[in-house]
Amino acid sequence: MQRRIFSFLAATLLGTGLAAASLNASAQELRVLVHGSFSLPKPLLAKFETDTGVKLSVIKGGDAGEMLNKLILTRAQPIADVVFGIDNALVVKAQAAEVLDAYSGPAAQRASVVPLATGVVPVDYGFVTLNYDRAWFAKSGLALPRSLEDLTQPAYRNLLAVQNPATSSPGHAFLLSTIAGLGEQAAFDWWARMRANGVKVTKGWSEAYYTEFTRNGGTRPMVVSYASSPAAEVFYSKEKITEPPTGSLSLKGGVFRQVEGVALVRGGQQRDAANRFIEFMRSAPVQEALQTSMWMYAAEPRTARHEVMRHAVEPASYDNPTTDQIAARGADWVNRWTGVVLK
């Protein structure tokens, strides 16, 4: 018994000692906070590490909204030095919470294909829209819906899967575009009718796309996804195909343009390395690579567009509320959506 007590005490002391040691981050380490969909080719990241002499520590923070919340909750002792993935739906909240420092280096001075906000450097942009399974629609003979209103008809019952806007960034984006495209009251009427027409709600994009989509063995031939997902299907397919098995539907009120950026975290360390990381994200190799690793369009003008992205046609129009509207009403909208659809 005594020996056991002593060994426990020794283990604790050892444990706390090691814990204290590991608490101090290593001297030359840059902590980058990203959302769960961040992905860049390892050789590129390795090249950054050798060029700058700092080790990259990529911290995945979950969904973009979760990631921002973590930053806000830990602002007294930040968990990262630079953050990637703040998008136009979140940037006003981030700035209001004062968790970001403005960056004013060359990348911020250069023009970008899409704007974001002062101090946050845009890196890429994409479109949240509906995707449909071509094979399913061909087999069933059902015509593609031409408007959001069509989706509430009995013919389209139980055919759509969406994500919960409270927990998923594309789900949130889709909700915002319905509100901007149809008007707030009409949008929530539409959601109520969609609930009656059997819309399926999932927690995140992965569940909707990989579990519910008929393309992947589910029961819903239409999902909320990205305009670039068909291109990804071609890129990752086992056999060489020339036509994507899915397509994207651009319906009025059903397309949201999402712009993602990289920013400095207030209170973070390694400022030099962080600045260089921001420049790195806007450099040509990264801007070309992110098209096929994160499936977004490059924000840097004159970036060579990858060949497979011809299957990812940019929608002609999109419906975004202004960033200020999102900041002011966003939470209320999500609340109301929960009451209308989930209750």
Partner: protein, 519 residues
Amino acid sequence: MPLGFLLLVVVGPVLRLAVEAWSGFNAAAAAAMLVDGYLRWRLAWTVLQAVATCLLALLVGLPVAWVLARREFAGRGLVLRLLMLPFVVPTLVAALGVLAVLGPRGLAGSCWGLQWQDTPWLLLYGNLFFNLCLVVRATVEALERVSAARVAAARTLGATAWRAFWRVEWPAILPWLASALCLVFLYAFSGFGLALVLGGQRYATIEVEIYTLVAHELRLAPAGVLALAMLTLTGLVALLYAWVERRLGTPARADRIGRTRPRGLGQWTAVLLAVLVLLLLCAAPILAIIAQVLVAGSPAWAVLGEPETLQALWNTLRFTVAALVLATLLGVAHALVARQSTWLRAAAFLPFVVSPVTVAFGLLLLYPAWSASLPLLVAAYALMAYPFVANSLGAALDSLPPALHQVARTLGASPVRVFWRVTLPLVRPALRRGTAFAAATALGEFAVTLFLSRPEWATLTTLIYERLGRPGAANRDQALVLAALLMLLALLAFLLIDGAGRRAVGPVRARPVAGLRDA
């Protein structure tokens, strides 16, 4: 001195909650929330699923326990010992196990096309997995204490077997049953891990709602109000539990009803059915995990070698050890002090009342202000774990005959010496059992780590949860492998501490075994 130490740790969580309530409380907003239909529905469902779990546990557990208590058959001892197993399994592992049986790609799905995703039955099944064993064990212990003489008297006076049960045995076991059911209600009501994974979009509980409000929407004020509401409800049930517990102080009776070998087809069928039910409800999830892990390909097993996993494993181990030491010290101190005061005895239930989500939430609010945060995390772990030590030890101390203590004192031993040489060796089995449960709790701690999850503190449980959130069969298999590893660790810890001696030395007070926290 131990009192002061205790006050610091026990008042700690209460203070945290007071802070969060004060910072978030707004009378109008609170009233609006309570009227909000969506939240009322969630609360109603939370209560409903807890009550349903209690009822199901009672309906299924009582016959099974009766068979186990009254019939003697080969392997009965083994079954009783294996009933302890669900207590040791961490909640996240159990959730994965349930998914492995009845989830979209579960065993039942591939064999019989049966899958329960998006139904409330998944959560109820998960709840039953944990709580059925609690009810069965409590009822078996209670049934073994029914006086044989009384039952015999009733039968001689002409009562049928059923009437004898209803009029003699049932009232005798009712206090134990009520106490166990209170505990079941508390676990099902404030459980987090199971509801998060198995509840889905429609059937998650209020605890998951609090988590979503904090982690995804950062609406701390409504979360605070909800947490307070949960606290009030669980507080009431915990008071009920404490009140019932106090009435169980009767010493064990000597004349137990002997067990008989089953005779005839009817009785044998009953025994087989009981074992089958236990297999289906309590063993199936664990077996399903093992089965799916064994057939998983090598990419799934490769996850064990990844640096991320090793870091998580290291974190889990060091947090557990640190928390265990702290929990043991706290538990012993608390049990010693609580002998005199019933208030302190009730205070030991505070961590049962305060759900892990609420504690974690309170910690989160205080988090930026406390620079030494790792000790805080360990303290939170210890807080969740030490009630097992305190309660187990308290029960053992209560049942010690005071004569031994008095004799030692008359012979000239100081109080410390008496404690060290007389009391401690006698309560050692109870202490071991309490620390075993505390270790299992710390290993499976999920809610606190999820809330605080600084990336460098990722443990095995958060790693499993993260893997579960990613798509694809490969990730799911990796999650299963990690879950199997965690289960193995929990089992190891349990065996190490509890050892071979499971029989308590000396008279043991009849009290239902407090099961594992649904953390």
